[in-house]
């Protein structure tokens, strides 16, 4: 069985562990709630996190790249990963996390896969497996996801700072400006440059 098949086989278990380790980054009492409630609207953080991790995992499985692949070499691949990660990162970017805490969950995936797939193999073949090129490729993919997470995290933070900087000006001053009450502020420059 190659690693992709093994990952596919153990998908449920891996996702469950990955979700739990991600959610455990919240205060304990919050984490239990986030894990428990399944309703998408009563528990937006939990459900968005789960959904986003699932999509990211699928993106990893579908990623068709070689070991020498460099991040951002293929913009389509990159967008696929970043879009899958977006909901979970977008939430963590406004919560009580430092940058490293916000994206640390990606690296957890390596340990989870090691221990989960480990159960499929005996000790010898596990060592062999870890050294295999297909596993190295998997680790490489996780690294790419981590890079994508950094990217997305920074984008969200920039977005926040932009909203902070421009919200009041845009909302209040644009009305003043249209009325000709202020002239010094070029609103288009302020906003236009940062729209992505």
């Amino acid at each position: 069985m190659d690693i992709n098949q093994q990952l596919e086989l153990k998908k449920e278990e891996i996702l469950k562990k990955w979700f739990e380790s991600t959610i455990n980054s919240y205060p304990e009492d919050t984490a239990k709630f986030l894990k428990k409630s399944k309703n998408q609207f009563d528990n937006p953080v939990g459900s968005a996190t789960l959904q986003s991790l699932e999509n990211t995992f699928r993106a990893i499985l579908e990623m068709n790249i070689s070991k020498n692949y460099k991040y951002s070499q293929d913009i389509v691949e990159q967008n696929k990963i970043e879009n899958a990660l977006d909901p979970v990162i977008r939430i963590r970017a406004v919560q009580n996390f430092s940058a490293s805490e916000a994206v640390a969950f990606v690296f957890e995936l390596k340990n989870i896969v090691k221990s989960t797939i480990g159960k499929l193999n005996d000790q010898n073949s596990l060592e062999e497996f870890k050294g295999s090129s297909s596993y190295e490729l998997f680790e490489h993919k996780v690294d790419l996801v981590a890079l994508a997470a950094f990217n997305r995290f920074m984008k969200c933070r920039e977005n926040i700072f932009l909203l902070k900087a421009t919200e009041a000006k845009r909302r209040i001053h644009s009305a003043f400006e249209r009325a000709g009450l202020v002239t010094e502020l070029n609103e288009n420059e302020l906003v236009g440059s940062s729209k992505s």
């Binding site: 009492d29 919050t30 239990k32 709630f33 399944k38 309703n39 609207f41 459900s47 789960l50």
Partner: protein
Amino acid sequence: MNQKYMLPLAGVFLLFLLAYAGVEGVGLQWLFGIVIPYLAVIAFIYGFVNRVMCWAGSAVPFRIPTTCGQQKSFPWIKQNRIDNPDTAIGVFIRMLFEIFLFRSLFRNTKAAFNRDENNKLTYSWEIFLWLGALAFHYGFLVVTLRHLRFFLEPVPASLAFLEYLDGIVQIGLPGVFVSGIVLLAAALFLLARRIFDAKVSYISLAADYFPLFLIIGIAATGIAMRYFTKVDITGVKEFTMGLVTFHPVIPPGVGGLFYAHVLMVSVLFAYFPMSKLMHAGGIFLSPTRNMANNTRAKRHINPWNYAVDVHTYEQYEDHFREKMIEAGLPVDKEE
């Protein structure tokens, strides 16, 4: 171990042992059977009345019901008369629903039945809070009412009927009363929820565990006496009738378990008015529930509505007159 529930648990055990040993060992029947119950009832009545008077003594400056449905506006828009009442009758019905059916708590379940992302039907655990609370309170109510038979002579027919209903599941001898079992089970459930549900455990205080343990203790001793140790019912009735007729007697042949039961009930009574158990009285007075949403139609009076400094139009115009005239705005005083 968690001292938030270990200490209350130890406290309740201590109470039990105190009464049991006090009666069985030292023979303090008069203390646990007569002095403490009387004191507890006095503390309960005084405390309860005092607390309610104290609440009632606070003003209700504004009419601020929480509206949970469509307001009354036009005849062609259907008003939710219960969740957003504008009349006393509506409020009365709303309060009935709150008090007897725990309507607000039931709202937790409304969102519960939903399809999740995998199109699986999911339900929330919270419906059990409503069910558990309902079972607990009704169990408690029926058990309390049933106990009136110890304090009334002759026993009224309505009480006998209640007992008949309560014992309708005819198992064993003496016949099982459903209410006691339900009360104990519901109290255990509420306790389990407090200990094992993370968010509830986080917010719980010793004061939340203590009454639960106490009630569990009361229910357990009560059940033990009825079904297992088979307490001398005639003796008990003699004792309780003595209490209500103010001619207290200590009947022979009633053991420590009974006095432990009585002590825990006494403690519950005395503890009641100074604890959260006063929610039983408070729910009637809660201004977000017991007021009609008709503040725009009927003026509410604030008893302490004092005058405040305001920035008057005259001050405003004085400040801006020139600019107002220049802009073509009408002014009261042309200068």
